[in-house]
Symmetry: C2
DNA sequence: GACGAACTGTGTCCGGTGGATACTGTGTAC
DNA sequence: GTACACAGTATCCACCGGACACAGTTCGTC
C-alpha cells in the first residue's frame, strides 16, 4: 500500500528511466556502477533475504558503495523498486505456438507467470497498486490479452478476464502473498490457529465438520480456480452464441 | 510480506489476546486505556490517513499517551495489527435467510465482505500472509464455507473455492490492493503509463488495438469474475453428476 | 495502618529506515 | 590550462519499532 499518490514528476522520471534511456553524461568521472547492476544486486538480495530485508544501505553494501551513491543512479527507493521489478519479470513468453486455441494458451500463460513469480517470490507482492510499469511487464499483459484471442470475449470482458487472471495467480502464488487461510499446514501462526480452532469447534460447526485436507495443497487452489474461471468464460460465450442464433 | 516467521511465543500471546481474554491485573494503578480503545484509535487513523501513516507514535498521540505506554497493552506492532483487524472486520453476516440456494448466498457474501473492506480500505492489504486470525475473522471464513452448502463440492474443493473467492474479492477491491492494471483511469501513474503506451503502440499490437474502456470500471471486474467462477463451479458439479449417472 | 509488590505511564537510548545537503576528487570539453 | 560537470562520501535529519530504567499509583497482606 503506497503512502501517497506520488507526485507526477517522480512518475515521469521513472517512466523515462524504464522506457526511454536516460542519456549518459558526457563529462565527469566514469560511473562505477550502472542502473541494471544496482537493480540486479537489489533483486538478488530480495530473492535471498526477502523483500523486507531490502534497503538502500543493504544494496549499497552489496555493490560496494555508500548508500547515497545509489541516488546518483536512481531517484529513490520507489524507482529502484520499479527497475528491479522490470528486470526480474523477464521477457514475456511467446505463446503463439501453443496449439489448441485460447484455453491451453491461457493455461500456459498462468504456468509461465507463476514460474517467474516463483523465482522471485517478492514479485507478486511488489507488483500491487497503481504503478508505472516497464516495457517487459506490459509485455506480459499484452501476452495475456493475446492468449484470450478467439475466446469470443468483448474488449471490456477481455480486460476483466486478464485482470482477474493476474489476481488469481497472485492469490494462489504462495501463502505469503495470499489471503490467510486458517487451515494451511506447517508450523507458525497457522498451527497456533488450528489448535485454537479445535478448542472452539462449537462456534464454527461447518469448519469443524470439514474433514482435514487430504494432502498438502501446495497448489493453493490455483488449478481448481483456473478451471472454474475458464469453464465460466466458456459458459458465458456459449450462452451468448446460443442467444444470437 | 512479513519479514520472518515470528517466534511461536509471540503468536501464542496474540492468540491469547484475540481468543481468550487476558486476565486484568489485580493490583497497581488503574489502566487509563484498554486494548479495544487503542485498536479503535489505530483503525481510525488507518481509515483516515492510510495504513502507512499508522505508527506507534501516531496511535499514542491519538489516545494521548507516550508511545511506550502502548506496549503495556499490546506486545508490539504486529499484535496491534491483529487486534485492529479483528475489531474492524465486524461480525460476520448471517446468510441463512438468503433464499435461492448456494449461489445467491455466495453472491451476497461477496457483497458483504466487499462492503466491510470498503469501509476499511487497509483491511484487504493487512489480511495477507500467515497470521493468527481472531474469532470474528474466522467467523467470516465459516460464513463463506456455509454459503457453499448444497453446491455439491467435496471438502477439498470447498476449501479451494473459499480461498479463491476471498482472493478474488481482494483482487477486485480497489486499485491500491489489486495488481497493477495499465488501463486504469484517473491521474497518477496510470495516466503516465497510458501516455507511454500510446507512444509504443507498435510493440503492443493487441493492447493498442483494444478499444478504450466503455466507461469507468469501478467494479474492477468483480462481477465478471464472480460470475465466471460460479458458472465454473456449476459446470464442475454438473459434469460430475452426469458422469455418476 | 504500614509496607512491599505489582502495575501504569514517561524519558531516554538504540539501531534501523529513506533522504537532503555539503563536500572532495576526477575527468572531459573548451 | 582551466572551468565545469559529474561520482562518490560524510554528515545530518526525522522517523520507525522497540529495550530499559525510572517515578508515581494502587492494592493485598501483614
Amino acid at each position: 500500500m503506497r503512502a501517497t499518490p506520488e507526485t507526477s514528476e517522480a512518475e515521469l522520471g521513472t517512466a523515462e528511466l524504464l522506457w526511454g534511456r536516460r542519456e549518459p553524461p558526457a563529462r565527469g568521472p566514469r560511473p562505477g556502477l550502472s542502473v541494471p547492476a544496482i537493480a540486479e544486486a537489489a533483486a538478488r538480495i530480495a530473492d535471498q533475504e526477502g523483500y523486507p530485508a531490502l534497503s538502500m544501505q543493504r544494496v549499497a553494501a552489496e555493490v560496494g558503495v555508500t548508500k547515497m551513491a545509489l541516488y546518483r543512479y536512481v531517484a529513490g527507493k520507489g524507482e529502484l523498486d520499479a527497475v528491479m521489478i522490470e528486470l526480474s519479470v523477464d521477457e514475456p513468453p511467446d505463446l503463439s505456438g501453443v496449439p489448441g486455441g485460447w484455453r491451453p494458451r491461457v493455461e500456459r500463460f498462468v504456468r509461465e507467470l507463476g514460474e517467474v513469480w516463483r523465482r522471485h517470490p517478492w514479485l507478486p507482492w511488489a507488483t500491487v497498486g497503481d504503478r508505472v510499469m516497464g516495457p517487459r511487464e506490459v509485455g506480459w499483459v499484452e501476452c495475456a490479452f493475446a492468449a484470450f484471442d478467439g475466446a469470443g470475449l468483448t474488449a471490456d470482458e477481455r480486460r476483466q478476464a486478464v485482470f482477474v487472471l493476474f489476481g488469481h495467480v497472485r492469490n494462489t502464488q504462495s501463502p505469503a502473498t495470499a489471503g490467510t487461510q486458517p487451515w494451511s499446514g506447517g508450523a507458525g501462526p497457522s498451527a497456533v490457529l488450528r489448535e485454537v480452532l479445535d478448542r472452539h469447534a462449537d462456534r464454527f460447526p461447518v469448519l469443524a465438520a470439514l474433514p482435514p485436507p487430504a494432502g498438502p495443497d501446495d497448489d493453493l487452489g490455483r488449478a481448481f480456480g483456473l478451471r472454474c474461471l475458464l469453464d465460466g468464460i466458456e459458459t458465458l460465450v456459449a450462452g451468448r452464441a446460443a442467444a444470437a442464433r
